[in-house]
């Protein structure tokens, strides 16, 4: 079973601050980390490979050369190979162009499964995983919380929904995005760290993956950002505090009537 894991390097948001004038992230001095949700995808890929007992796990990321450190970190926790998609032509991509670029690269590789984290903590769109599936015309299962059975032909997985768990049987190859409940990522091992340090990271350009430069990067991005702002804090508000829920409800209805909203 060959598994591809798409990962993103993101600023460690526990440290991030926003410049109030430009409304952009202050990235100076902020550590870069692997998008936390992607660490679960990496762990699950390694576990599936261990369970099946054959195949390899490859991590792939689109980004500037410094993303190499994220790829090496993945290599230290059991990933076999790493690919960096790096080219000026990729810059400025929105989720459409990003997923198209990744899908284009994936077409040049052999795989049975693609894993992604459910979303990236910097953009929070949750669009790239499903986007990859669409561009590749593959089945997608999002918010996977457990892989029950898996083979090259089909998989049975659990999806974590707001109102319960959905069990899905899916034909392979497929694209899954995973939630953090799926596993507990392992720590690196010393051997893994040493291997990661020495490993060669394959870098692919737009030409290497035969991408159409009109369809990628800023040019290929239909999204345009008009304005970024921090929403104003909501003020006012009133807490209705009573002993019991019926009392709260009664008083709430009374208030709403008073305000002629009910």
């Amino acid at each position: 079973m060959n598994i591809l894991v798409c990962i993103k390097q993101v600023p460690d948001t526990t440290e991030v601050r926003i410049n109030p004038e430009t409304n952009t992230l202050i990235r100076d001095g902020v550590d870069s980390i692997i998008n936390p949700f992607d660490t679960y995808a990496i762990e699950e890929a390694v576990r599936i490979r261990e369970r099946v007992g054959a195949g390899k796990v490859t991590v792939i990321s689109m980004g500037p050369p410094q993303v190499e450190s994220a790829l090496r970190e993945a290599l230290s926790v059991g990933v076999d190979e790493a690919i960096l998609l790096s080219d000026r032509a990729f810059a400025g991509a929105d989720t459409w162009a990003t997923s198209l670029t990744l899908a284009t690269a994936l077409k040049t590789l052999e795989f049975d499964l693609v894993l992604c984290g459910k979303q990236a903590i910097d953009g929070d769109t949750a669009q790239v995983g499903p986007g990859i599936a669409c561009h590749l015309d593959l089945p997608q299962v999002c918010y996977v919380s457990k892989v029950r059975e898996i083979s090259k032909e089909k998989a049975v997985v659990e999806r974590m929904m707001e109102d319960g768990t959905e069990v899905v049987e899916v034909q392979m190859p497929a694209v899954f995005t995973v939630v953090k409940d799926i596993n507990e990522p392992r720590l690196p091992s010393l051997k893994g760290k040493m291997k990661a340090k020495k490993a060669e990271i394959k870098t692919l350009s737009a030409a290497d993956i035969k991408a159409n430069v009109e369809e990628i990067g800023l040019k290929g991005s239909p999204t345009s950002v008009n304005k970024i702002f921090s929403p104003p804090r909501r003020s006012g508000g009133e807490m209705l505090e009573y002993e019991t829920a019926p009392e709260v409800a009664k008083n709430l209805v009374g208030k709403l009537k008073e305000m002629q909203l009910f």
Binding site: R186, L187, P188, S189, L190, G192, K193, M194
Partner: protein, 388 residues
Amino acid sequence: MLDYILTEEQKMMVDLAAQIAEEKIRPVRAELDEKQEFPHDLLAVFAESGLCGVYIDDAYGGMAGGTPIMNMVLVAEQISKGCAGIALAFAGSALGALPIIISGTEEQKKKYLSRVAEGEIAAFAITEPNAGSDAGGIQTTAVLDGDSYILNGTKQWITNGGEAGIYTVFAMTDRSKGARGASCFIVEKDTPGFSAGKKEDKLGIRASATRELIFQDCRVPAENLLGKPGSGFMTAMKTFDASRPGIGAQALGIATEALELSVQYARERKQFGKPIIANQGLQWMLADMAMQIEASRALIYAVARHIDSGAGRPTAYSAMSKTFASDVAMKVTVDAVQVFGGYGYMKEYPVEKLMRDAKITQIYEGTNQIQRDEIARALIKEAASKKK
């Protein structure tokens, strides 16, 4: 941070050990201390990390890479920063494995060191109720009977006792020769006639298991004898030469944690309308702590490197590193409690535990009085050798 010019591999060991301390040890240390519980859940973490092999030769599944003692010291320091008691599952294993590293045959090393490198716990057993500082006075006996030795006696206060799979045990094969009649044996956990006794209730390092070991007609294969009969005391002394910087590192980890917590607290705690760190009296206390800690670190690393280089018996220097660092840890942790004031005295805050944990480093692997004896003996010997 002073640059101690570590190798790439050593930096990785430090990073990984620090990550384990931060993510796996720190969150559970107070609970394990309070319940006096052995860190069973963390053994798999240590095993999978590969850190158990940092002082074991590559040929036996380790990653010593020619600097076993320096590696051991670096890892022990970081883990001890998280919790000195939990760290003993690692450091106590090193102590248990060292007699095999020092006196083992190729076969013994292959068989046992690979297991330790993979994370199996080891223990070292010399102390008895009537033989502490005077380790030559042990009364446990080993009598040759066909192709095995029969061990009888009781060991006391053995770190990792009952938890370890592999024990290096010292017993008299010839009582008439005194210390020269002592021998060292490898004893496996499930050997008939061997059992672990009661677990001690301790002041500090409470996550470490300290137990009695009981040998009742315990039959150990003769091939488990380490070195020649009668060489046990020499094996023990060489083991201490190599292990004492590790105790120094444990003390160093405790002291470093105490200083970091003190600085952080002193910046946050306000009295008389300003943070207490604004007082020069307190600043000088912190400065003294930092100075002593860095001196410990420099000494420990230098001694560890000297040992790894194989340049002559390091006995006096090993004793210095252990004694200096443990005295520093004791002083620094007492001062840390002072910096925290009444809060420092409370179990809700982490510094009283550091003070309790620090004390043992002045006692075990030879008390600091015994260490000073060793240092003085070397001084006298050196002076005598110069006199024509």
